[in-house]
């Protein structure tokens, strides 16, 4: 037993978590007694807040995320890294600290899909409540909690990390690297996520209920809420730290670990997309961390950053919260979309059997979005009461950011033109994405127009827009990516018939659910309400019915994934006849990815060029570049 408690793992993690709570209890007690406060040792709120901050760190130490660094820092002999922990031989290996990027990728994807289903169930509950006006199933507190936790989970625990997970699996393979640049940091980044998710879901058990101020957590409402709010404030810190560490890891990996011959303009667009996304994350995410630390300090210690009730002598700035928050949270929508653009570029090129149309413009438009993405945040604040002139430049930049996005859409269309299009499940999701994302983009441009935005901000029009870009946009690309790389990640093929059924059900019921929300929004139904005027009842009932069917379509996906992973037919190494490097190794790839270091000799999308290859498994000295059109000597294509 003591051996189990000393070795890294779940037993030690449990013991350390208990230690962490005890630490919080002691620290709060000591400080309160030093300050001569009443209620010294059993101040529940204080203990909870310190425990929320501290216990997860203790847990991570117990699990073994920090072992190597602690040994090294204290000058003790570090355990030699023999890579024995790479790879996974049973499901139990996915519940350990593992430094293999392929294992971590699957850990990320499975964890985030778990939270997708939890968040989706919350959406079902909300739709049940909204089927009719009046209150039926949940109280106002529960309803506000449901939409807040729903949004927080799906943003911080699903869309952002699932892209990080897919990229974790695919990017090192795509650039010909054996692993990420910092494998231990990679493992630590992953293990912070389940903690953040547990905290957010666990907030429902907090006295006073879960956090209920929306995922935006606007101050000063959020600084006055019951303790459940802190589960969001602190949970975001862990999700954000995970995000920042992963982004740094991607940047270093992409900059320093590309295979010989892989210049920046020979990188697949998914690599470009994750490079751009990581830049956004590294620059922007510290701002959301700051905004939530302000809220924490306001609520826990009365700092009054945001408490602005002048009558009581408080002169905090309420608008400051929104500026800091949106300076992250607008770039965040690109963090949640650019990796999807990368996935779509891969799939459309491979499935249409044509090179990406305008490769360089595709890469430059990503960088343009990164730069412009930092200049538009205040379009979320057109009715916030900020200085009114700021609205004008923000309107113009918001409209202009549609130009690089448009370039991407038109380039995908041109890639389809005269191709040989395979309409299998990944491609259907990619084409579905083009449809729904175009609609989401158009409603985005409409929202940039200040006078129209003044009428519809904080209405269901916004709810419709955000779901068209995050569900019809991000989630469709995630489905496309999961189906596309499923053979590579699991070594088995998914069921194509079920995949198509999933696509059509999702596509139809998605539109039936979210398109009518535009209409009720313009008509005047505000968002974030459990009860609404009688005039909206017919439309809401229709939306609820469609949303339940949309929920059912997810079960088809779940069944397909679980059964195909266990029983699907074996996948060949390159079932899609793709050129990028991850398809040139076995499915699933060898433990160290490449038995021989690949050399990149051409662009990633030279479909239709006779004999063109992207990479060959020869030493750089032997390899000769194969310009487009020349005949290669490599045996790597099937």
């Amino acid at each position: 037993m003591t051996a189990k408690l000393r070795a890294p793992g779940w037993y030690r993690a449990a013991a350390f978590t208990v230690l962490g709570v005890a630490f919080a209890f002691a620290l709060v007690g000591i400080v309160r007694s030093a300050m001569h406060y009443d209620d010294t040792w059993f101040h529940g709120e204080g203990i909870t807040m310190v425990a929320l901050l501290g216990a997860p760190l203790f847990f991570l130490v117990g699990l073994g995320c920090f072992d190597y660094w602690f040994y090294w820092a204290s000058g003790r002999p570090t355990r030699a890294e023999d890579h024995s922990s790479h790879g996974a031989t049973s499901w139990k290996d996915y519940f350990r600290v593992n430094t293999d990027h392929k294992v971590i990728g699957i850990q990320y994807v499975c964890t985030s899909f778990f939270f997708l289903f939890v968040g989706g169930l919350m959406a079902m509950l909300m739709r049940a409540e909204l089927a009719q006006p009046g209150m039926q199933f949940v109280s106002s507190q529960e309803f506000n909690g449901l939409f807040s936790v729903h949004a927080a989970l799906l943003i911080f625990l699903f869309v952002i990390p699932v892209f990080a997970g897919l990229a974790n699996y695919v990017i090192p393979l795509m650039i010909g690297a054996p692993d990420m640049a910092f494998p231990r940091l990679n493992a630590l980044s992953f293990w912070m996520l389940p903690l953040a998710g547990t905290m957010m879901v666990g907030s429902f058990l907090a006295p006073g209920g879960s956090f209920a101020t929306g995922w935006t957590a606007y101050a000063p409402l959020s600084t006055e809420m019951p303790i459940g709010q802190m589960f969001f404030t602190i949970g975001v810190q862990f999700a954000g730290a995970s995000s920042i560490a992963t982004a740094l890891n991607f940047l270093v990996t992409i900059i320093t670990m590309r295979a010989p011959g892989m210049s920046f303009f020979r990188m697949p667009l998914l690599v470009w997309a994750n490079f751009s996304t990581s830049l956004l994350v590294v620059i922007a995410t510290p701002f959301v961390a700051a905004s939530q630390f302000f809220v924490l300090l306001d609520r826990a210690l009365g700092f009054n950053f945001f408490d602005a009730f002048v009558g009581a002598g408080k002169d905090g700035s309420v608008l400051m919260y929104q500026h800091v928050f949106w300076f992250y949270s607008h770039p965040a929508v690109y963090i949640m979309m650019l990796p999807g653009f990368g996935i779509i570029s891969e799939i459309i090129s491979v499935k249409a059997r044509k090179p990406i149309f305008g490769y360089r413009m595709m890469a430059f438009s990503l960088i343009a979005i990164v730069v412009l993405g930092f200049t538009v945040w205040a379009h979320h604040m057109f009715v916030s009461g900020m200085q009114s002139w700021i609205r004008i430049p923000m309107m113009i930049t918001t409209a202009i950011i549609a130009v690089p996005t448009g370039i991407k859409i038109f380039s995908w269309l041109a890639t389809l033109w005269r191709g040989v299009i395979r309409l299998d499940t990944p491609m259907l999701f990619a084409l579905g994405f083009l449809t729904t994302f175009t609609l989401g983009g158009i409603s985005g441009v409409m929202l940039a127009m200040i006078p129209f935005d003044i009428h519809v901000s904080d209405t269901y029009f916004i709810v419709a827009h955000i779901h068209y870009v995050l569900f019809g946009g991000s989630l469709f690309t995630i489905f496309a990516g999961v189906y596309y790389w499923f053979p590579k990640m699991t070594g088995r093929m998914y069921d194509e018939r079920l995949g198509k059924l999933h696509f059509w059900a999702t596509f139809v019921f998605f539109n039936l659910t979210f398109a009518p929300m535009h209409v009720i929004g313009v008509q005047g139904m505000p968002r974030r309400v459990a009860d609404y005027a009688e005039q909206f009842s017919a439309m809401n009932m229709a939306i609820t019915v469609a949303s339940f069917l949309l929920g059912l379509s997810m079960l088809v996906f779940l069944y397909n994934m679980v059964v195909s992973w266990r029983l699907g037919p074996r996948a060949s190494s390159n079932p899609w006849r793709a050129l990028t490097l991850e398809w040139q190794v076995s499915s699933p790839p060898p433990i160290f990815n490449f038995d021989a270091v690949p050399t990149v000799v051409g662009g990633p999308y030279e479909y239709g060029v006779p004999g063109a290859v992207h990479g060959i498994f020869q030493s750089p000295a032997e390899a000769k570049p194969t310009p487009a059109g020349s005949v290669a000597t490599s045996p790597t294509t099937e």
């Binding site: 009046g134 109280s139 106002s140 506000n144 000063p220 409402l221 009730f309 002048v310 009558g311 002169d315 309420v318 608008l319 249409a352 059997r353 044509k354 305008g358 490769y359 360089r360 009715v383 916030s384 009461g385 009114s388 004008i392 309107m395 113009i396 409209a399 202009i400 549609a402 130009v403 370039i407 859409i409 038109f410 380039s411 041109a414 389809l416 033109w417 005269r418 191709g419 040989v420 299009i421 395979r422 309409l423 083009l434 441009v445 409409m446 127009m449 006078p451 129209f452 003044i454 009428h455 901000s457 904080d458 209409v519 313009v522 008509q523 505000p526 030279e606 479909y607 239709g608 059109g629």
Partner: protein, 341 residues
């Protein structure tokens, strides 16, 4: 393909213009915003149709047919002229739309001399509207009365958290921000009653934070303001839905019943007599059954003095003593004491 696209666009635009998207149009600000929306539709629909037409045509014309399993498409890497076109045309289009939107914005936010100033105060979860009455007396009302065809400047603020003052029929909204005054302008044009909606999440009662706007004739408005600013407290009242014409008369309980509806009590409370079924606050049929008139009055003007088990303090608005007239308050107490027994 072009013909199909053009026909589809025409049908789409016709449909978009035919659908009645917006709520009632009751202010000068509404028409320019509605027109902007129509213009956005006319521009957007052809773009969406273009994307859809190309996708559907490609799927129909270029899908893989049996025997093509190992074929690739032609290696077209790009076309600079095409790429310049689809960068420049959207950019020009978007800048033009921005210019038009800017023109609409200056139009709807135009300042007018002699605008009526209404001080809007938001508190969880109620609105109060302050006017300057006769002799500079300040008048506070829980309902919004506005004269027809006179520009109004709303000065909005909040006593606690963020709220948002929105009249869908006027198309304008602005956040109520604690610590600062925000401003929004509207010129009501149509007589009638419309709703004021809180559009910014403000806590548990957010969904029920509503008030009513009465747009009345200028003469009726002046009469209403004069009556509300009259010094004698007993002459107050009359905030009922009577276009501000006649003061409420008759027994106190009738005034109370009207007040119960006007002040939005039904949003949060159950009261069988008024058909109210709100669940945010306590069930009044039960909790007031044994309460005296004094206790009821305290529960209204100082709701946190004693909070029923299972409910949070701070939810019920604290300002009914200000927003209700003495007569309304007396009426409400009498009414509640009568019907809850």
């Amino acid at each position: 393909m072009i013909a199909i696209g053009a026909i589809a666009s025409a049908i789409g635009i016709a449909l978009a213009l035919w659908i009645d998207w917006f709520p009632a149009d009751a202010a000068k600000q509404a028409a320019p915003i509605d027109t902007l929306y129509d213009v956005l539709m006319i521009v957007s629909i052809p773009i969406f149709v273009l994307v859809m037409t190309v996708i559907l045509y490609c799927v129909w014309a270029f899908r893989m047919r049996p025997g093509q399993e190992h074929e690739d498409g032609p290696p077209i890497h790009g076309n600079t002229r095409l790429e310049v076109i689809w960068t420049a045309v959207p950019a020009i289009l978007l800048v033009s739309l921005c210019s038009y939107a800017y023109a609409v914005l200056t139009d709807i936010e135009e300042k007018h001399r002699g605008a009526l100033v209404v001080n809007v105060r938001a508190v969880q979860f109620a609105w109060s509207f302050g006017y300057e009455g006769e002799d500079g007396r300040s008048v506070t009302s829980s309902q919004l009365y506005l004269p027809q065809d006179r520009p109004v400047l709303f000065r909005v603020t909040s006593d606690d958290v963020l709220h948002d003052f929105w009249v869908p029929a006027f198309r304008v909204k602005i956040d109520a921000v604690p610590g600062i005054n925000t401003e929004v302008r509207a010129t009501p044009t149509e007589l009638g009653t419309y709703s004021v909606v809180c559009a910014e999440l403000c806590g548990l009662g957010h969904a029920v934070m509503r008030a009513t706007v009465h747009v009345v004739t200028p003469a009726a408005f002046d009469r209403w303001l004069a009556r509300r600013s009259a010094p004698a407290p007993v002459a107050g009242g009359g905030a009922g839905g009577d276009d501000g014409g006649q003061p409420g008369e008759g027994d106190l309980a009738a005034i109370g019943k009207q007040t119960f509806a006007d002040a939005g009590c039904a949003g949060c409370h159950v009261l069988a007599d008024a058909g109210a079924a709100g669940t945010t606050g306590p069930d009044l049929d039960r909790s007031l059954a044994s309460a005296s008139e004094d206790e009821i009055r305290t529960a209204i003007v100082d709701p946190d003095a004693e909070v029923e088990d299972g409910y949070q303090p701070g939810l019920m608005p604290q300002n009914f003593e200000e927003t209700l007239s003495e007569q309304q308050l007396d009426g409400l107490v009498t009414y509640l004491a009568t019907v809850s027994k």
